[in-house]
Symmetry: C2
Subunit: 203 residues, 2 copies
């Protein structure tokens, strides 16, 4: 049976309500205490509606996170990895946007809850890495590869290590709240990852 | 009333049993589901014995983590931050030991559970940072300060940023399990933090 336009609209609305409810709730109660029942109640749908589309709360949250990441794109916070030819400027642009996103209250609580859940649940962590994290890391790697090809990076640069040198300190400061997460921090990090901290002796 | 030697020994044994039970349990069930009752049962003591010494499960776990860190020292995994004059070698030595510790099953599950709990509970996170994390970061900063004074680092090097450039990627890879956490990774990280990834043009 083909859906009527009205039914399709209702379906989209329910789907959206479920994803929103899942994100809000995981930020409020954490991953462990989240239930399909609570998501259904918050979204104003029956439990069976959720189970028709998703087999588990992990699956709901994965789609919710993907939708949230997609929204950030649409809102112009992310319009593809820039390539102006100036690697430092491009990395600063993206890391500043990441700082803004991590500090955005809509994003922060669910992102913390899911990171914490993945850290203690290897299977969940692996699913999130595969669907959500690795595609993002691949965009950084592609930009760094172009820079390496253009002779801007040492020819033996380990691209994956470089990506983790950028995202590792950012994630560390965000997750552990050791110091304020600012644009100035993002800028300094990019400069030091590219240039190093050791004194270069000019002969 | 002064304790007799026997009473003091019993006291020490109970204390040790409680801290061990707390670490084992938090690794098994996570921070949220951990209770003083469960710790008491596992340690074979009464609840009141725990409450005599600690006001909350967070306080028990903080002392348990400090005791675990102290043990690692005693076992020679950590004998103070080395200063051989060779900064790269000293940093690699410490980061390799940190890799070993993070991959040690005795340490890994409780450390993950507590990091996850601190990430979603700002008050708990702040207490752990103050008592456990910041004293460790201060040791890195002190070693880097000596290197800066010796002219081995750029004079304007931000010591705190440099510490987070070392520990951030390590913690990221450990917590998110993006790639294997190895000594080779620790070595490459130290080399790149010191030297940067940008191509240095020799005129």
């Amino acid at each position: 049976m083909t859906k009527t336009p009205d039914a399709a609209r209702r379906s989209d609305r329910s789907r959206r309500a479920i994803l929103d409810a899942a994100l809000a709730l995981v930020g409020e109660v954490g991953y462990n205490k989240l239930t399909i029942e609570a998501i259904a109640a918050r979204a104003g749908v029956g439990k069976q509606t959720i189970y028709r589309w998703w087999p588990s709360k992990a699956a709901v949250l994965l789609d919710a996170s993907l939708a949230l990441a997609g929204e950030a794109e649409t809102e112009g916070q992310w319009t593809g990895f820039p390539d102006t030819g100036d690697l430092a400027a491009d990395l600063k642009h993206v890391l500043r946007a990441t700082v803004d996103e991590l500090c955005d209250e809509k994003y922060e609580a669910p992102a913390r809850a899911l990171t914490a859940a993945g850290a203690t649940d290897p299977e969940l962590g692996a699913r999130f890495n595969e669907r959500l994290l690795e595609p993002q890391l691949a965009l950084y790697e592609a930009r760094l590869r172009t820079a390496r090809q253009a002779g801007q990076l040492a020819p033996d640069t380990d691209l994956r290590l470089t990506v983790e040198m950028l995202l590792g300190p950012l994630t560390y400061r965000w997750l552990l709240r050791t110091q304020p997460l600012t644009h100035a921090f993002a800028d300094a990090l990019v400069d030091r990852v590219l240039g190093g901290v050791a004194k270069v002796t000019v002969p």
